[in-house]
Symmetry: C2
Subunit: 202 residues, 2 copies
Amino acid sequence: MTKQFHDSVLSPDTLDQLFNEARSYNGWLDKDVSDEQIAAIYDLLKMAPTSANMQPVRIVWVKSADAKARLAKLVMEGNTEKVLSAPVTAIIGYDIDFHEELPWLFPHTDAKSWFEGDEEGRKEGAFRNSSLQGAYLMLAARAVGLDVGPMSGFDNEAVDAEFFGDNSRHKSNFICSIGYGDTESIFDRSPRPDFGTFNTIV
Amino acid sequence: MTKQFHDSVLSPDTLDQLFNEARSYNGWLDKDVSDEQIAAIYDLLKMAPTSANMQPVRIVWVKSADAKARLAKLVMEGNTEKVLSAPVTAIIGYDIDFHEELPWLFPHTDAKSWFEGDEEGRKEGAFRNSSLQGAYLMLAARAVGLDVGPMSGFDNEAVDAEFFGDNSRHKSNFICSIGYGDTESIFDRSPRPDFGTFNTIV
């Protein structure tokens, strides 16, 4: 039986941890993130919804000094030190040919055939759904007591060649450092819009 | 002082509510979602990160019988009844010209100039970041005790004309019904990948 949580609003502390007090960090305390913590993040994010369970995200977790140095050369100057100092930086990519996996990921029906011959549609679906999965990753990291610092300032083609070079159908979307955030590295929070600014109820 | 939650792993029940037991619903109990609940979802999702705080998401919350009927005509046949029966369906869109808002959303620097004259870059940034915000929306809805049912099977251009018609720079990304899920409307959960299938640590 599926558990439900109707009208169960999470506690103020939990909403602070996930949304209200969490920040995007630019600097990190000198404390490792373990492979077990990385796996815990993935094991949460993979449960959240993707279209037809396509699960297009492909993640390279950059953790060794050598890999950090290779990635740091391919990011914008302002991001170099962030990548070098973070315990781990996730390269959040996607597989344009995710449909090849649908026979086992979505076994109820022949979903693979919906995407065959439609590379443009697959690119759009993979980009949208790997972005969703990148967002799940960030909230999952916060849910296990870690902080994040997402970045899109890097050379996507060079990162693809360096880290997805063995599969030309895998493309980078964005990157995200993960660790224990240093409060010295953040500024005042940017303003947030009131509901009426960007929303309408019809 | 920024609150931090280092190594605070959320409780098993909370992780169930957000990730492990939550499901994408196809049918809904006959119970309304209030405007206050909708605002609570937005007030959480807007706190989560977007690139340069661009906040590109533009949301139309389809709640009246008339608006549901207008939207239901523009979705794939399999989604018609979902839209008609859901208490509310959010049209998650984005503004290609989000950069016009950056002077107040990102006041630290002249971020608007980074995007001027680069419409392709803005489209990519708006699509990526509105997708992130759509994912935040789904987890925020779960965080306040509601269920979600995301859908991408609809006519984007027709939805844009019908619901974003007063601003041709606003485009739909995906739609998501929100309410109290009916367990009768779901099937067995689709398989999830092991860590090693789509991840590498380097």
